[in-house]
Symmetry: C2
Subunit: 368 residues, 2 copies
């Protein structure tokens, strides 16, 4: 019943050519800036293009050029209802970085997510592979051993995966961030006991757990880890750990080091509900510095990853591979300790920016 006035018909390069009175080759050259078409030719073509509202078909261009100018980004959803969990933010910020970098090179981004409970992401990945020139695959999409096979089909860059021979990976320096955090809690604040509230099994979690233990040992602090402290990177996971610990009448450590910011959010909420003061009774820290971290009460002390830069870098690495077959293998970004209030430091008077150490432009990622 509702009908656009100008019925949308499929305009092709042939329509443009005949309207302009030239060959399709000339139309193509004008549109792509190849060769040196005469001014008159150019103008006639442009006019016809304008009058017809011609948009070249991307599929045909891709088939002819062998380049789609599209990369895929795949990540795993952490909950099926976005209102339940904002872990999303992490991925979204990274993806924004990918998109901006991609646009600068004329690429677009196909974004696809794998359901929380989808066992095998391969079919989806394969389906997408046909529509793109390359793939950025986030953490926890596919088991590590599934990657090489796929990488034989389409160029792939992984994000926050374990470095694998033959695969390209972009990640942050988890170890350094965690060490700074533990030293701040133990040496600056003098807290005698810590716990690491783990995230879901993943390379990031493993690296953070390892660094936590090593630095706790090095600083001489008592520390707890293990099944009782197993979260899943979500707020509700963190809250659950605290709740069941208190239900069992367990004693809390002086500081809870969370695997990520989302977990810390849940922990702070659970502690608050039980009347435990943060940071007076128990200090809490996160990891990532997602945008909401500064808005929590108390504001969250955490480790900032340059998420947007990491996304942009992942695209650039992929692009290098697509265009030139280049293949760097492992890019590591520096992180920055962001001291706010949840560790026990005093609230800053001015903006949070000034209370934290000034942002130091990354010395540049390190390729191994």
């Amino acid at each position: 019943m509702t009908e656009a006035k100008r019925p949308r018909e499929i305009r092709t390069i042939y329509d443009v050519a005949s309207r302009a009175g030239v060959s399709i080759a000339s139309v193509s050259r004008v549109l792509n800036g190849q060769g040196r078409p005469r001014t008159e030719t150019r103008e006639r073509v442009m006019r016809a293009v304008r009058e017809l509202g011609f948009v070249p078909d991307g599929a045909a261009r891709a088939l002819s050029n062998g380049l789609k100018e599209v990369v895929g980004v795949v990540f795993r959803r952490v909950s099926e209802t976005p209102f339940e969990d904002e872990w999303l933010l992490f991925v979204d910020v990274v993806n924004r970085g990918i998109q901006v970098a991609a646009h600068e090179r004329g690429f677009d981004v196909l974004v696809s997510s794998i359901g929380l409970h989808d066992q095998d992401a391969s079919p989806r990945l394969v389906a997408i592979a046909g529509k793109v020139d390359g793939l950025v695959v986030h953490d926890r999409v596919l088991a590590a051993h599934g990657m090489p096979r796929l990488a034989g089909t389409v160029p792939i860059v992984t994000l926050n995966s374990a470095p694998t021979p033959g695969l390209m990976n972009v990640r942050c320096d988890n170890g350094s961030g965690m060490r700074q955090l533990v030293r701040h809690l133990v040496l600056d604040h003098g807290y005698p006991s810590l716990a690491y509230l783990a995230g879901a099994p993943s390379p990031d979690n493993r690296a953070r757990a390892l660094a936590f233990e090593a630095e706790a040992v090095a600083t001489g602090a008592r520390f707890e880890t293990g099944p009782a402290w197993q979260g899943n990177f979500s707020a509700s996971g963190g809250a659950r750990v605290i709740a069941s610990l208190l239900d069992r009448g367990g004693a809390l450590p002086r500081a809870v080091v969370c695997a990520n910011d989302q977990t810390a959010m849940g922990v702070m909420q659970a502690l608050g509900r039980r009347g435990v003061d943060v940071p007076g009774d128990v200090a809490v820290t996160g990891f990532d510095d997602i945008p909401v971290a500064r808005h929590l009460h108390p504001a969250l002390t955490t480790v900032r990853q340059p998420l947007q830069h990491m996304g942009a870098c992942a695209f650039e690495v992929l692009h290098g591979r697509i265009r030139a077959g280049r293949a760097e293998s492992d890019v590591v970004f520096p992180v920055q300790l962001i001291i706010r209030e949840s560790c026990g430091c005093a609230p800053s008077s001015g903006s949070e920016r000034q209370s934290a150490r000034p942002w130091v432009p990354p010395t540049g990622p390190v390729a191994h």
Copy 2:
């Protein structure tokens, strides 16, 4: 230096066909489930596909089928640094809805954002148009008068735009939400004075502003609007309005009704910094119910839009148009008042879910 073992070569349907000893037509039929290939044929093809790691080229399929199975989603970035503003969330949740719905129909989603200061989004839209079967265009990407021209080139569904003849649009019932909110503040709480802190010029903002005024008049409350109350949908915009008002020594109304949740976040922070108690001195409300709203202190009273459903609906409308040429024109989703604490209501004891009215499955959007 790093090289995948199996060098990634371009495998085509011809490679599969010759390896399986059949024609390319048979390969295609097996892969697409057309016709009734003999079991043996099917097995030989599948084996060859597996052995070669064959992935059909999407561009070639699209060209042949006249269907890319890709839709584009375009939105405008609100800040260039995601750490500065989380308005992103709004768009991201909607986009998630689009993606999930798209996957169910075998479509993928090309996500693209327009820079904060990009004057004319048309070139980008045109560029994307060639790579997709249709477009979902968020609010504030393109001036309303620019849409029809584009819609002659590619099927388009707009989100939260003003309904335009010949264009398809999906939005929420801003008027109803705002009226419920104002009635709650004036009739339930008895607040005598309100202000509407506006968002950037847009159909959503206009609809909310209009309903605010109308309902304030109807309930007999004093109210303020105008240039002094002009925000921009961002937290910093909301904070700026409050700061300059207080700097001028202006009196605050009893309740500040914000154009969206982000604005409310900024307002609450600015008020807190000046020692104004929310909701004791001034009540604050939002609009949207983005995920973070429940984590604010006090928890934000707001109007929930079914963002994910709206995204899914936008896709479905678009899909209908792509497949069948169907064209509904304007879909309106119901909204739900979410009463938390920032309006002055008592904090709930249990989970927020129970304090708010139970979620009523939408009676279904209304098409006009």
